[in-house]
Subunit: 605 residues, 2 copies
């Protein structure tokens, strides 16, 4: 395994698993990259729907953004309560399961797992779009770049990104800073009445839709992508410097203000500049060229956008394995997902997440627009369940002004619930159906897994076990030829059992005679039984013989089949030997009371 | 394995492995199909070379055929001697190895194995060509048809074609009969001065070569494909009715006469009709249409040609596995190739042969002409080695008119040796180089395999073994949790060893405490040792502990690690459990004196 060590680094001690505590500035960088980065594509997605209904329809983009920003304030207010109620970390799964029951909890968990995968895929696709907007020749390689993007993050996470906070602060603040500059300069130019430095590249396409309420709702659904990731703070309260809840709440509000301002600002500026999404350039890129021109500032903006999207994808690489590990500990997923790998990371979860995201990127050709319809359903479903859980939480505990809190959470739950319905309906045929189908499948798998572990626990229970019941022991040594390996196996058999019997399966009369002859010298008093095999099978006569023995055995009798096994110095030398030990083991595996033991015989050089 | 039974049929008893003895007429069908079927393509291959030098060059085809027919008589005469000298069956490998030494024997064996694969590939390609000549629309499916052709034969052989002789007599005699009719009718029409019923389809292509000696030699090399398969009789002398050698010799001569006559006749008729190979129709097909017209007789001719080629391919399916089994018994190939499968056939050999032939068909696009250059090198190399072996044989035994016999074999060896050289040189760049490279590689592999088995035999030898040396026994039971499976494993450990120790690898302090608590109740007096694992590895601390134990052990002490192993009712349920038993086994496999035993714990439903 030395190549694994070389690539991933030496194992890390459990004792090093302490988390660093974060202050507000660092926490903002760590927890808000996912949410903030969505402004890189949310406006574009709204315009993409509206522009099919002509120039007039585009004006609605600002109004839709306003509605989404209102929803944002409601969610921020509501999640502030979650932060205070769950200082240990209140993920949607935990909150929903604790307050609503197992099934809603699992639905939230399924929705979140899908959400994490899509966060990675969408962020990778949007990050690549930011790069190819600036460097158009790379456009044809976008799928490969997206895969590379995911591969790099997965690799970093498998090695264990211990320094998370510090290195992630740079791209997040670079993005916050360069967008602030863009919005300020853009607003100033608008007041000064200056024209765009570079006019927008794309014109309006042909009008294919009329402006209906359905179309507006679809645009709203698309814009909801802006709100993905805002729950991150409430999951990670424990990571804050004390007083944890107050710092977390402050970070949440700060993030909400930045996100809302930027989202509204970008939508408004895009509208005033008459920018629409076009082939090869994102809205942010066009806006950057209109305000800055194609200079250093523009390239910094694009680089910062790509970088924050990378960091956003990385968030999912922390969240997904943490959630699968919680689910595995609750026995809703296989136990292998519960354990830390030797670099102190949940390696299996990381591998599953990156594989799933890569598949999506390949399937949807690395296209952000194609992935977005799958995205928001899961996120908003988790929001709804989490808020509903909080309503129950307040009503149950009845602490302080619980009616007000419950009402706020209920408002949040209702608003996000309506949003889920709108998104699921308006995006159903564009891909949302996949998520609608996938969530029940995941929930079913969780429940089946749970049931399996329940049966296992029941059958492993120690009720009625007599700890000290003695075992009577018979050992069988199959002998195909008398050689050193056989003699070693025989010696071992004699040391573990009182009754030992050697059996030879007669395939070749000359061979059988030879074995019988040699047995007189080397058999050491153990009887040799010859089993006929009219069909030349090694396995059948042996299995039948063992069955015969077991048939007549007493209740506490066990049969051990002792096999010589050749261990060759090189793996390919194994091809030169029959794998009969393996086949015998497989054939006897399902027989209670039978144990198959291989005695390794080691070949040198 | 019930699907395997359903497809391949029930196993057959060893007692049914008796061969039916063949009289001359049936033997001719069984042993000559390979040789006779080559007239279906040999003439065509000669013309294909000559026609590049223009119309005048085509006249040489008759002369080249005459030379090849002379070579044929020499070979028949020489192989008659082999039949008498090796009544047990004198394959080239046997004859060369016995008289010339191991290395020449292995070269012959390598050449023969390649020859068998090519027999299948070429016969399949030529058989498909016979069909597509008659039904041109099938031409584009020739690769698929070739694969199907091979697949059907492989399938038949895996089931065990017990009725070989009888069902193969039909296509062979149909071919012999319809070609006899073709030649007779063609000759009569020539004497009568009648024109062709249908003129040949293909005209001469542009002249691209001048008629050089090299070109003539290349045409000769191509025509040598006619002689492939004539050694079959000498391999199968044992299958004849007594007196075996006389019947075999008679069959050989009869086959030689038919083959020579047909080959010469076809070449001469093709020449008089001005037939050259063309797109989509074989020479035989054009000849058939010229003599019979496109009627019932023509279709019977094509069907019989395809059928005998199928039978010829089938010959290789008998020869290849028989040779690999002989080589495996001599320890030049893995032992798995030496044993009869449960349908009394050498299944592994059949699978390897068909896979190799299918690869060739795909690689060479199902084209006979492309495969032919690879074909004759191996065949003629085996001829040469076999004849040279016979020279040594006569000189060593000095029986009867041994000088005459030796001279005859020497003439055969020289002639075929010259042919090998001519073929290898003139066809080198067309593909013969592959065979020239492959034979040494095969011989190297044979020798490496042999060396491996030699080392194995040496290390398995019983020299210095004390049969009855007692073993001291320590058993270790790794305990991750105290449950029914653990208790069963502990019980087993106590029954096989005097010293038993339980070990727990501390990964989670709460778990460790719980195990220690429960051990007081269920441990049955066995000490529980806690092993620290700072890097959360299950394997490392266990392996280190075992190493410590082995370090201090006495010479006759063994350590058995007894592991509880979960056996689930469905294979996929295995995914819910750590495969740590498997990993522990792998980690301890290479430590002498350590045995790992799994005690299966069976889950219900």
């Amino acid at each position: 395994m030395s190549w694994k060590r070389w690539v991933l680094g030496s194992p890390l001690e459990t004792a090093r698993a302490h988390e660093q505590r974060l202050g507000v500035p660092l926490a903002l960088a760590v927890f808000s990259s996912d949410a903030l980065s969505s402004v890189a594509y949310a406006t574009e997605e709204i315009l993409l729907v509206l522009m099919t209904a002509g120039a007039l329809a585009l004006g609605y983009s600002v109004w839709i953004s306003l509605v989404i920003t209102l929803l944002l304030s409601l969610l921020v207010a509501s999640y502030r309560q979650t932060v205070h109620a769950y200082p240990e970390g209140g993920g949607s799964y935990t909150v929903a399961r604790e307050n609503l029951g197992t099934l809603p909890g699992l639905v939230a968990a399924g929705a979140l797992l899908i959400d994490y995968v899509l966060t990675v895929a969408v962020s990778a696709a949007a990050g690549v779009a930011a790069v190819t907007s600036a460097v158009p020749v790379l456009r044809e390689h976008r799928v490969a770049m997206g895969l590379l993007f995911v591969g790099i993050i997965a690799f970093g996470n498998l090695r264990g990104l211990r320094e998370s906070g510090r290195i992630f602060a740079v791209p997040t603040y670079a993005f916050i800073g360069s967008l602030a500059l863009l919005l300020a300069a853009g607003t100033w130019r608008w007041f000064a009445g200056l024209p765009a430095v570079e006019p927008p590249v794309a014109g309006l396409p042909e009008v294919t839709h009329t402006l209906t309420l359905f179309l507006l709702m679809r645009a709203f659904s698309s814009g909801c992508a802006a709100l993905t990731g805002i729950e991150a703070v409430s999951n990670g309260v424990k990571a804050f410097e004390p007083p944890e809840t107050r710092h977390a709440a402050a970070t949440l509000v700060l993030m909400g203000i930045i996100l809302g301002t930027y989202f509204l600002g970008i939508t408004w500026l895009a509208h005033t500049h008459g920018i629409v999404p076009g082939e090869g350039q994102t809205v942010i890129s066009q806006l950057g060229r209109a305000v800055f021109g194609t200079g250093a500032l523009y390239y910094i903006l694009q680089a910062a956008t790509a970088a924050i999207l990378l960091v956003a994808a990385n968030t999912a690489f922390a969240g997904f394995p943490r959630l699968t590990s919680i689910l595995a500990n609750d026995r809703f997923l296989p136990r292998q997902l519960a354990t830390l790998g030797d670099r102190l990371v949940f390696s299996n979860g990381i591998l599953i997440l990156s594989a799933a995201a890569m598949l999506l990127i390949i399937r949807y050709d690395g296209d952000t627009h194609a992935l977005i319809p799958l995205y928001a359903v899961g996120v908003f479903l988790a929001f709804t369940l989490s808020q509903s859980g909080m309503v129950m939480h307040h009503l149950r505990l009845r602490e302080g002004r619980y009616r007000l809190h419950a009402a706020l959470s209920a408002a949040g739950a209702t608003a996000t619930g309506v949003a889920v319905a709108i998104i699921a309906v308006t995006k159903f045929t564009n891909g949302a159906w996949i998520v609608v189908v996938l969530i029940p499948i995941l929930v079913f798998a969780f429940l089946r897994t749970h049931r399996h572990y329940f049966y296992v626990r029941t059958q492993l229970s120690l009720v009625d076990v007599e700890p000290d019941r003695p075992i009577r022991h018979t050992a069988i040594v199959p002998v195909s030829a008398v050689n050193r390996a056989t003699v070693y196996a025989l010696r071992y058999a004699k040391s573990i059992a009182h009754e030992v019997e050697a059996v030879h399966i007669a395939l070749d009369p000359r061979r059988t005679e030879q074995v019988q002859e040699q047995w007189k010298v080397w058999g050491g008093g153990v009887p040799l039984r010859i089993l006929e095999s009219p069909y030349r099978s090694l396995i059948r006569p042996l299995v039948d013989h063992v069955d015969d023995l077991m048939h007549g055995r007493r209740r506490n009798e066990m049969v051990t089949v002792v096999l010589p096994e050749f261990v060759t110095a090189h793996w390919w030398e194994g091809l030169f030997h029959n794998q009969s030990a393996f086949l015998i083991k497989g054939a006897l595996l399902f027989r209670p009371g039978v144990v198959v033991t291989s005695i390794p015989f080691h070949f040198k050089r």
